[in-house]
Symmetry: C2
Subunit: 327 residues, 2 copies
Amino acid sequence: MKVGLIGVTGHTGYVLRGIGKDQDSRIVGIATGSVGEKIAKRKDLQEATAGAPVYADYRKMLDELQPDIVAVACYFNDHGRITIEALQRGCHVFVEKPLALTIDELERVKKVYAASGRHLAAMFGLRYQPWFLTAWESVQAGAIGQIRLMNAQKSYKLGQREAFYKKRATYGGTLPWVGSHAIDWLHWFSGERFCSVYAAHSRRDNRDHGELEATALAHFTLTNQVFASVTVDYLRPDQAPTHDDDRLRLVGTAGIMEISGNKVFLLKDGGVQELPLLPAEEIFLDFLQQAKGEGKCRVTAEQSFYITEAALRARQSADEERVVAFP
Amino acid sequence: MKVGLIGVTGHTGYVLRGIGKDQDSRIVGIATGSVGEKIAKRKDLQEATAGAPVYADYRKMLDELQPDIVAVACYFNDHGRITIEALQRGCHVFVEKPLALTIDELERVKKVYAASGRHLAAMFGLRYQPWFLTAWESVQAGAIGQIRLMNAQKSYKLGQREAFYKKRATYGGTLPWVGSHAIDWLHWFSGERFCSVYAAHSRRDNRDHGELEATALAHFTLTNQVFASVTVDYLRPDQAPTHDDDRLRLVGTAGIMEISGNKVFLLKDGGVQELPLLPAEEIFLDFLQQAKGEGKCRVTAEQSFYITEAALRARQSADEERVVAFP
């Protein structure tokens, strides 16, 4: 598989790690995706893709190299447009989330995707961490019965972020950027569909990060009267031992499962059991294999669209201070 | 202080433990508060109050014994009415939460209280546990800066509960009964006022508990764009090591404080520190001392009313599936 990389901003590491495990694939070219992106600053990328030509214009790269797969990871407002262009040129697309910043743009991507016959997955790479895989497999096997209630947490260090994070127009908002991972867990673990969302977010105490929301909280009502909270913050101290503090609590009819501190705990019957972890997997390798016709990626296109929609509706709820129903 | 006990249902243990530490006070009488309560079943109470007369009619007890303080802990729909009667007879009132099951009844209690010149506190006894006292003192001392986001959890074993839990009319709902503790923490720790609430609750999988909600989730917006989630469930496995799994996460501008597993953790600067615990205190002893003019109870009457209101508005939100604003 010939892989073209567009953008040097998001989780390009997924692409490098995944392709490193597939002898049949290689990065054939790199291009900036957004005005303002600096490839020169990403020496790691250049080293990892030594020999691959660098393009200032990704369209030129697509036309000249005709990659089988395009990985898109630029400023967030350009994900949707570039995804459409790549699909229209016949490429499979592996794209950073959120894959669109408005519902309208998302609908355009869905339409082009449906006509393309190509594969698409958004970078919900956290699913592939050992603790999420372990918990998910265990829940699917019935360890906690039916899920009734979910509490998801994303807590990040803010640090000092690039300028594009400080504008809603280029960043999209904290619920789509950080929150969408947690929103993905809700649907992925429970299999329930979203009925409505009520959310709030605040830019206070964002340490000169303009329009970036430092805190957010969302309340989802899912099918079968399943409820879920998503709490998001950028207030994790900069000196904390890890960048993030991801957590998920799943309350079921036959037990309670928790992911915390990169471990999985199952409370069932008389005590809490720490589950032995499954090995990590690579999201981009999973996608590559699907593109080669050798399986199905854990992150489906339908899920990629659906979670983007859910995150955008959560943002809308917070912006408009009202409950937003899903159609 | 002469203490009269009305009801044998709620946290009467607070009264017994508190009075045991005050040589100046004693229980002078016990009465049932609600039709259906069985004093005969509470041998522990009878032993602890040996010699105190038992009344079938609490009004008769109030008139004959003229207690200085009345502790009310019967079926939840009778809290408000009995509180009013006791205040009107000149008693201080220590009452199980929720102290009313409707906003109208709450307003009546507030009015009688205001005219009474007596003291009142609801049984928010969890505040007096070492972990809550420790976290609260630390937060008030500025350990985490300004609170921006809060996540509170109440998880209980359901077991097999008395019949009155199975009817909304006598139980009042899971958000007022279980959730009110967590709602109390939000206001008590942050000092913020409630602006609005959005909540949901479900009776599914309540194991033949009629109208009792087995799960609930509430989203509060407080002043200064502080947000808070309250998750409540009765799905803790019956064989779990403890009855409850109370947690509170407080995200501040200068650190994150967590109460979990009866411990307190402070994430600040480079690492997580477990705080040494302050000693437990007794809520009823605190109230007794206030009644004697020797201090101020940590749980004020204003807070008791306010948290009851917040819990009832959360229940209303869940019942009506809409955001409810605070006046």
